[in-house]
Amino acid sequence: MNTVKLSALKPGEAGIISALNTEEDLFHRLAALGFRIGKQVNVIRGARFAGPLQVRIGTTDVMLRINEARKIDIKPLS
């Protein structure tokens, strides 16, 4: 199945994390917030004017900028 960037998902869509293409520091931060390979992410909403995304991972809601979302590879769930 194709992978896409997390930034390409629309509100209401979900996917499984397949890769984190980030520098070490951000990798650790994401991992501690629950972003690990194989985990499911749901995109809840995006802010206006290309603002940050609100995503749910497990029991945590996290906001992150599109820039960071581009570094996360996702296998979309239909």
Partner: protein
């Protein structure tokens, strides 16, 4: 003395727990190897007095953020007997990673599964005994907010303290095993002891977010909420402020004046007109400040501020700031000092400094007082609100301009990732504790500076001996004359110049100093000023007052928070220059147009 460290991720209720266990008796202390202030307290645990240290909330011991390095340096330079690990139970599925890292370092630890009330609401259940066995660490479930589970927690902690021995670590990062191993251990612990429902049942947060984060109404709604909040602070605070002012007057007339009557006139003047009046002016603002902290603590604890950060981030990122910077600027509209302290949540120093540079432009409540007085004196009732509104616009514009100009110098590469916690409502006890804690902190910090400041201003306006107070013959008058080549081009006369010097100490004193300078009060003063000044001069004076050097408390806070003298000088010098330039452009422009 044994040393116990309190550690946990952000948003775990760590400070609530710390306040509860120390009874808010904590003091800021210095620690070897660590440059930031950490709170510490001496508490009775396990039958002996131990030192409890509150470490910053961190996600991970691997990381390179300021806070993560602080924790590593602390553990590498100070032997620790026991670590109390606070975990947010409803996020246990990811927060166990920090627990496992501590375990890997062979630090003796007790695991405190906090926010058990919230976890229960979400349908998350943890078999505490099983979890303790899997982790091989004493584990207990509690709620720091409601105080349940404490008896058991204390027993476990007491036993752990008695059995503990000091551990000093070296090279923490090398000791930590691969993430894959931690992940496997997490899975094992979770599958044995934790049950998480597939669908989380926090409908309230989802419903509130649906409205409060609405793509179109979210932001306007936020501004309405903030507006109502500020109105409430002044509606409730003003009578209290007047009450305190009245009480201080009574104390002076009834007790201090008679008591000091035999003292030499100079000493009496310094003590009463200088220190007592100066400190009294600030003391009268304490109720407003307490209310302000209280309201802000409520908004913060509910989780609404992180939503504001979400809504504003797109705009702020264009100025090299992020959503949190905006929240701090808003807090600055009440008082700049707590807003500056609030920037501690930022991990990147560049971002923190840039935000701290913009906060002093927020039109704080003290400046608002000055503007209300002057607009009432010099503008028609129809024009006054428009004038006031224009000053708010200048406040935002100068802050944004500053960020745009300096964003290259304080380049921020920190990714903006923030948790959106579920909405919570703090208990009355929590609110009272927070308000008291913050207000005491403010008073400690402000008092030294304000006493020194008012003494200086009193001396300037009363010497050399024999000169009429605040007259051109005093030192303050001489400074006014000396500054006139600078201040004449922006329409500020020598009387107003003396008021500006007062305003450097605290904007609250500006109106009072005008009263001393003109020798009259209230409506009479308004009338005289309306006579002597025209609106162009008055507006120029207000522009300068809005933008120039923030008060002494703000400078002191910038100094202590940035720990950098060059930065503090920049934060004083830049607004001063900008204030002059804008006032000059306005005054000369208006005069050129024939006003």
């Amino acid at each position: 003395m044994k040393r116990v460290a309190l550690l946990g991720m952000p948003n775990t209720g760590k400070s609530t727990f710390f306040n509860r266990i120390t009874g808010a008796s904590a003091r800021v202390g210095n620690w070897p190897g660590v440059t930031v202030d950490l709170l510490g307290a001496k508490v009775l645990l396990g039958g002996e007095i131990v030192e409890l240290v509150d470490l910053p909330g961190i996600y991970d011991l691997h990381g390179f953020s300021d806070d993560e390095q602080v924790v590593r340096h602390f553990l590498e330079n100070n032997a620790v007997d026991l670590v109390l690990l606070i975990v947010n139970t409803s996020q246990i599925e990811r927060q166990l990673s920090l627990v496992l890292q501590i375990k890997q370092l062979n630090l003796p630890a007790v695991v405190l599964l906090n926010m058990s009330d919230e976890a229960r609401k979400f349908g998350i259940t943890v078999d505490t005994q099983q979890m303790g066995e899997v982790l091989d660490l004493p584990t207990v479930s509690l709620s720091a907010k409601y105080g349940t589970g404490y008896k058991e927690a204390y027993q476990l902690i007491n036993r752990a303290v008695q059995a503990s021995h000091p551990v000093r670590l070296e090279r923490i990062r090398e000791m930590l095993a691969q993430d894959a191993q931690i992940e496997a251990a997490m899975e094992a612990a979770l599958s044995k002891a934790v049950q998480i429902p597939v669908q989380l049942s926090d409908n309230l947060t989802a419903r509130l977010d649906h409205v409060l984060l609405h793509p179109w109404f979210g932001l306007p709604l936020f501004f309405v909420v903030m507006y109502v909040l500020f109105q409430a602070i002044f509606f409730l605070g003003s009578p209290l402020q007047e009450g305190v002012g009245w009480a201080l007057d009574q104390l002076r007339q009834g007790v201090l004046d008679p008591a000091l009557a035999p003292a030499p006139a100079m000493l009496r003047g310094l003590l009463l007109d200088g220190i007592y009046n100066g400190v009294g002016t600030v003391a009268a603002f304490v109720p407003i400040i307490i209310l302000f902290f209280l309201f802000m603590a409520i908004v913060e604890d509910t989780g609404y501020l992180s939503r504001a950060a979400f809504l504003m981030d797109a705009l702020m990122s264009k100025m090299g700031l992020d959503g949190r910077s905006f929240v701090m600027m808003l807090m600055g509209f009440g008082c700049n000092v707590p807003a500056l302290m609030g920037t501690r949540v930022m991990r990147s120093r560049a971002l923190r400094l840039l935000t701290m540079l913009t906060i002093p432009f927020s039109l704080c409540s003290a400046r608002l007082q000055v503007f209300i007085f002057i607009t009432t004196a010099l503008f028609t009732p129809r024009a006054a609100p428009v004038v006031l509104f224009s000053l708010y616009m200048f406040s935002f514009a100068t802050a944004f301009l500053t960020a745009l100009l300096f964003k290259k110098r304080f380049q921020n590469t920190e990714p903006f990732i923030l948790e959106l916690p579920p909405y919570r409502f703090p208990t009355l006890r929590q609110m009272a504790l927070r308000g008291w804690h913050e207000a005491r902190h403010f008073l400690n910090r402000a008092s030294k500076f304000i006493i020194a400041g008012v003494v200086l201003v009193w001396l300037l306006t009363h010497f050399p001996a024999g000169a009429a107070p605040a007259s051109p013959q005093t030192w303050a008058g001489m400074i006014g004359a000396f500054l006139s080549p600078l201040l004449d081009p922006i329409g500020i006369n020598q009387q107003l110049a003396i008021a500006l010097i007062f305003g450097f100490v605290a904007k609250e004193i500006v109106i009072g100093s005008l009263a001393v300078i003109y020798g009259m009060e209230g409506t009479a003063l308004m009338g005289l000023m309306g006579h002597q000044l025209d609106w162009v001069q008055a507006y120029s004076f207000m522009l300068f007052t809005l933008i120039y050097t923030p008060c002494l408390s703000t400078i002191a806070t910038i100094r202590s928070e940035s720990k950098s003298l060059p930065f503090t000088l920049l934060a004083v010098g830049w607004p001063l220059g900008l204030a002059w330039l804008l006032s000059f452009a306005f005054y000369q422009g208006a005069r050129a147009l024939g006003y």
